[in-house]
Symmetry: C2
Subunit: 157 residues, 2 copies
């Protein structure tokens, strides 16, 4: 497996794939082209034999100078459980550290139990919210009406 | 009118308003909370008597060091034709210049003739696309399947 930086033209390969990888959920609207043009130095692609099998779109917070943010991570369903996600996260942590960022943030949906468990395993801590769902702290309407989110933070040493 | 920087809590006022200001089109999905957390030093709110009447969400390109990007601009329908948009753009141009950015980019939908005319009046130049609609250069599927866009750039001197 090869990890490389995102390039603009990756958008046209990835955007149609995303909804498939997420089992038909409409996810590609969350990932406009701008992320593939303006955050290429903190966003990564995983390839096996030239095929894109995973990606991570993240950025250095522009106004919170100690923080970096992971917006979107996806792994091809046929290539899961092969530590591709882990490698992508580690590349992002490294570039964040190189830029003196020591807090990594991301959010996920409370229904996405796999994602919640995954982030906890990766050392993220769930931030205090304003309600609990199945014992998990959740911030209600965080990303708009009925768009509850679980908020994660990880400190890099 | 007062122009100030965006703050995180503005999201919860603006997000429900956006679809109303756009006449019912679902626009708020294009503006996740992250823009109100991590790009507060290049994003602006226009207020009259404490009421939000306009906003501009923009950022300095993280990987194109001479560029800045305007993601989203909105003005309350009752407050249009009062140069609120112009003031918001000028504030963004100024902060871009202070950060040594000399190219401002943004995109709009080909159906949005008002937006196209507005950007041309503001000194933006339409970039060469790969087809023409009503004589205007358009980039097909730029922001995903059937999401054609008109691409604008403005040079700051």
């Amino acid at each position: 497996m090869k990890i490389r930086f995102v390039k603009s033209s990756d958008y046209y390969i990835l955007s149609p794939l995303i909804n498939k990888w997420w089992g038909g959920r409409n996810m590609s609207d969350m990932l406009p082209k701008l992320f593939f043009d303006h955050f290429t130095n903190t966003s990564f692609i995983a390839e096996i034999s030239g095929e894109i099998v995973g990606f991570l779109i993240g950025f250095l917070s522009q106004s919170k100078h100690n923080e970096a943010y992971i917006h979107f991570v996806g792994v091809h369903p046929k290539f899961r459980k092969q530590k591709i996600g882990k490698e992508l996260y580690y590349h992002f942590f490294k570039v964040a550290q190189q830029n003196d960022r020591h807090i990594i943030r991301c959010v996920t949906s409370p229904v996405n139990k796999t994602s919640i468990a995954y982030h906890m395993k990766m050392g993220f801590v769930i931030q205090t919210g304003n309600k609990k769902i199945d014992g998990i702290e959740v911030t209600a309407n965080y990303d708009g009406q009925d768009q509850d989110r679980v908020l994660f933070a990880k400190k890099l040493i």
